[in-house]
Every structure is written in structure tokens, then in C-alpha cells.
């Protein structure tokens, strides 16, 4: 209590400089907040999936057949792929090409189809949600109908709802060109003829969804590429997620 008079006298002993600083400090604080929030507008990172909230990961896990930990591990993979060329938290076509071919350039018919199917919104980039949805089909425990459907859409180049003969021809030629391999036209025709004779049951020159389903069930090896056994053990492939996890599986 006897301090009171001393306090007041002490406060008045602040120098003018210190008093000015005292006045300006709150202003500096306000300016600081303004700058950092304006800065965020120009920073893609804050709006990209990089700052994926935990709630998003849980929702994605529920919508797919991955557990939350698996979604987190796949997020690590996604981050690695999405910043390989353009660091914006989204997978561009070149980045997918780089991941699969170890080279970001070059035209590839198959890559185009795969990218197109992953890119549900058709906005030219693969977001994390689209990534998870598509990979979900490749899980070993995904129902075979989903795999059959995905493969059908992959091969239906022009998206007409049928796999036409010209499309099969185009794809086989593309593969042979990729390998600089020469197969005669006759041989090529023979192989495609054999395939269509087997698959096209109503002989209309194209394979519809039902014919495809029946064909695949006769030749299950055709769906080999539609299953990635790695997805069963993805949490061991990307253990760094452990440091970010908030959930115990």
C-alpha cells in the first residue's frame, strides 16, 4: 500500500522515447496480423490439401476402404508425388508421368486414360480426395465389380460406353510402338479377331459392359493391374506418418 505513491512517480519517470514505443506497440501488432493474413492469400499452401485437417482424413477413411492410418500414409505418398515438379499439393499430369515412367515428358495414351479416370472433377489436377477414391478401387479387398468397371472405363477410350474394335486396335498399336516392336498387320488383326471372337458375344463389333464382365470372369488375369498388393501394407511403406498421427487404429 505504501507503494502506490512510488508507483505513480515511477511511471512518470519513463522517458519520452519509451512512452512513444508504448503507444506504437499495439499498432505494430495490428500491422503484423494484417501482413500475415494478406500474405496467406498469396500462399497456395494454406488452401491446398497439404493442410488436410484430421476431420477430412477421417471422412476420407469412411468413404473409402482404407483405415485412417492408411489414409494418412497415403497422404505421405500424395505429398511426395504432388510436389515433385510443381509444388502445389496437387498431382499434375507431368508428376504422374514422372512417377510411373521416371520421365516427365512424352505422350502416352495409357497415362492419359489413367489420369483422366483419377481426375473426377476434370479440372486437370488430381486432388487428394480423388487420389484416395481411385486408389480405393485398387485395394486387394475391393469388390471385383469396381475393378471390372474401372478397367472398362479405362479401355473405353472415347467414353462411348462400349469398347470398340478401333479402340482396341489403337491401344495395341500404342503398346507395340512404345516398344519399337514390329508385328505385322495380319498378326495384329489375328490377335484382335481372336479376342473379339471370345469377348463380343452378340457380334456387334464392340464390347459392352456385360460382355466385358463375362469376359473378365473367364480371364481373371486381365484384372491383374487393377490390384495393388502394396495397398494392404501401405502403413509400413510410409512410416513417417507415425509422427503426424493423432489416431490409434
Amino acid at each position: 500500500m505504501e507503494d502506490w505513491p512510488q508507483v505513480s512517480s515511477r511511471s512518470s519517470s519513463l522517458t519520452v522515447g519509451e512512452q512513444i514505443c508504448a503507444v506504437f506497440i499495439p499498432f505494430f501488432a495490428i500491422i503484423d496480423v494484417l501482413i500475415s493474413s494478406v500474405g496467406q492469400c498469396f500462399d497456395y499452401r494454406s488452401t491446398s490439401p497439404r493442410s488436410c485437417q484430421h476431420a477430412d482424413l477421417e471422412r476420407l477413411a469412411r468413404e473409402s476402404r482404407f483405415s485412417v492410418n492408411e489414409v494418412e500414409a497415403l497422404y505421405e505418398l500424395f505429398k511426395k508425388l504432388s510436389c515433385s515438379i510443381i509444388d502445389d499439393g496437387l498431382i499434375h499430369k507431368e508428376e504422374l508421368r514422372l512417377a510411373l515412367f521416371q520421365a516427365p515428358y512424352g505422350e502416352n495414351l495409357f497415362l492419359d486414360r489413367v489420369f483422366d479416370l483419377f481426375d473426377e472433377k476434370k479440372n486437370g489436377v488430381i486432388e487428394f480426395e480423388e487420389f484416395i477414391h481411385a486408389l480405393s478401387v485398387f485395394h486387394p479387398y475391393a469388390p471385383i465389380e469396381e475393378k471390372i468397371d474401372f478397367a472398362f472405363r479405362l479401355y473405353d477410350l472415347r467414353q462411348t460406353g462400349f469398347i470398340e474394335r478401333e479402340e482396341v486396335q489403337q491401344m495395341v498399336s500404342a503398346i507395340l510402338m512404345e516398344s519399337d516392336m514390329m508385328l505385322s498387320d495380319e498378326l495384329l488383326t489375328m490377335i484382335i479377331d481372336k479376342t473379339f471372337a471370345d469377348a463380343d458375344s452378340d457380334k456387334d463389333g464392340k464390347i459392352n459392359k456385360e460382355e466385358w464382365k463375362a469376359y473378365v470372369l473367364k480371364h481373371p488375369s486381365l484384372l491383374k493391374n487393377m490390384t495393388l498388393p502394396y495397398l494392404k501394407d501401405v502403413t509400413t511403406a510410409f512410416p513417417s506418418f507415425i509422427f503426424n498421427t493423432e489416431v490409434e487404429d
Binding site: F138, V172, E178, I191, H219, S221, L222
Partner: protein, 272 residues
């Protein structure tokens, strides 16, 4: 054995502290030997931690231990002891045409013609699925694609050539129908070099041989393929085409024409 985890805490940071310090408790029913073994396994200092040979020498571990030899086939672990049982089983499963949803057998039923294995036939979609663009496993590993080439040589000749190559470098050979697996003995970081070769029928007189690395070091695999496998199988193609009797059919004329030309065309994709 204990029924609970050695390092566990609801708080992740506290759990990491325990791991870092190697703090754990063994239940009362553990024998003294076991507790000693576990503390040597969960040793925080990697220099002092037990290695596999030391584990194998431990008295607690050795009780009732059976050494099992295994190998990898079709990306599954297979017990060497069960080999004979597997052989008789596979013939039966071929006749069974039921396909279950979650477990698909990727082997087509092998037709046995007079004891000789007949390779599965390739259709247009099989060829399409060879593309690297369609194989998403490239997202997870950089093991590289396999290589494929067309050959006019008969299946039995190709298989015996593969066995010959394996003998030269003292690799173990495992055969199952039209699949041949070559396994080296030298242990590397990624295990011994394991190469799987599979033969498919393209047309009645042409086959496609697919060679893939199943384990081991990538550089070693590429060296082996470029120096041993490819040149020897290449020669096989050229030689045997000349020796084979020409079949009479319009289509086959085209085929032998192709087979006669200097082929060995490798299908995608050799990562060079």
C-alpha cells in the same frame, strides 16, 4: 506373449519417451531367460542390440525351434517343405473354376498336353496391360518394369536355356508350368537376386517371354539381364527358327517371316 504392448501410452510424446529410454516392464510369468532376451532385443543402442545370429544362438529361442526354408513365388511366401503338396494341389485347383471375389487366382488353368506345360494364351487386352502407364505399382516401388520379348523358339527350349543360364551362375531354379524362377544365393540388402520368367503364347508358333525382378538389387538385375539373359535368349530365337519345320498355313507364313527377321524386340519397358 505378454498380451500388451511394451511401449504404450495414450500420449504419443510420452510413448516416444518410453521408446527412447527403452522403458518397459515384463509380466511376472515371463521366465528370467525370456526377460533377458527381450531386454537385449529392445536395446536402445543399435550397436549393442542382438543380431539375428545372436538370437538364433539364444537358449530360450532354440527351444522347440524349427528352421524353415522359404522362397517367394507369386509375391507370396512359400514353404520349401510344402512344395510336393503344392504340386499335387495345383493340378486339382486348375479344374476348379469357381472364382471368389476377394481372392482371385491370377493363373489361368494350365492345360497339360502330354505332360508338357502349355503356356497361357495372350489376348489383345493382355498385351495392353503390359503398358507401364497402366501399372500403378510404379507409384510404390521403383523396381522398374519387366522386359518382354517375342520368340519363335519352342517353350521347352526356352525353359532349358534358362536352366542352363542359371547353372552357369549357380542360381537355384524353380519351375512351375511356364514359370521359371531363378534365385541367386548371394545375400544383399534387398535379399538375393530373384528373377521370374514367364512364357505366354502369342500365336501357335510365337511366344512372349516376360522377365521380371522379384527381389534383390536393381543394378545387379540389370547387369545380369544385359550380360547373361538377353544375349543368350536372343541367340536362341535366331537359331531355333531356322531349325523348326515350317508349318503350312497362310497365317503361319507371315509368322515365320517375322520370326526370321532379326527380331528380339523387347516390349515395354526397359528402363535404361
Amino acid at each position: 506373449m505378454a498380451g500388451y504392448l511394451p511401449f504404450h501410452d495414450r500420449n504419443v510424446m510420452a510413448m516416444y519417451k518410453k521408446i527412447y529410454r527403452g522403458e518397459f516392464r515384463c509380466p511376472r510369468w515371463f521366465s528370467a531367460e525370456l526377460t533377458r532376451l527381450l531386454s537385449k532385443l529392445l536395446e536402445t543402442n543399435p550397436e549393442k542390440r542382438f543380431t539375428f545370429p545372436e538370437i538364433m544362438e539364444n537358449s530360450w529361442f532354440k527351444k522347440g525351434f524349427k528352421h524353415i526354408k522359404f522362397y517367394v513365388e507369386d509375391d507370396k511366401l512359400c514353404n520349401v517343405v510344402d512344395d510336393d503338396e503344392l504340386e499335387s494341389e495345383s493340378v486339382e485347383s486348375d479344374r476348379d473354376s469357381a472364382v471368389s471375389e476377394s481372392e482371385i487366382e491370377y493363373l489361368e488353368p494350365r492345360r497339360r498336353v502330354g505332360g508338357l506345360p502349355r503356356p497361357a494364351s495372350l489376348n489383345a487386352f493382355d498385351i495392353i496391360s503390359f503398358s507401364q502407364g497402366f501399372d500403378l505399382s510404379g507409384l510404390f516401388d521403383d523396381d522398374g518394369e519387366g522386359s518382354r520379348f517375342v520368340s519363335g523358339a519352342p517353350v521347352s527350349k526356352i525353359i532349358s536355356k534358362l536352366e542352363e543360364i542359371a547353372k552357369v551362375v549357380s542360381f537355384t531354379v524353380r519351375k512351375k508350368d511356364c514359370r521359371v524362377s531363378l534365385e541367386g544365393s548371394r545375400q544383399g540388402v534387398k535379399g538375393p537376386l530373384t528373377i521370374a520368367a514367364e512364357i505366354f503364347e502369342l500365336t501357335p508358333s510365337l511366344v512372349v517371354v516376360e522377365v521380371k525382378k522379384k527381389g534383390g538389387d536393381k543394378t545387379e538385375y540389370e547387369e545380369f539381364c544385359n550380360n547373361e539373359l538377353k544375349p543368350k535368349l536372343q541367340n536362341l530365337t535366331a537359331d531355333d527358327v531356322v531349325a523348326e519345320p515350317v508349318m503350312v498355313s497362310a497365317v503361319d507364313e507371315t509368322e515365320t517371316a517375322i520370326a526370321n527377321s532379326p527380331p528380339v524386340c523387347f516390349l515395354p519397358s526397359d528402363t535404361e
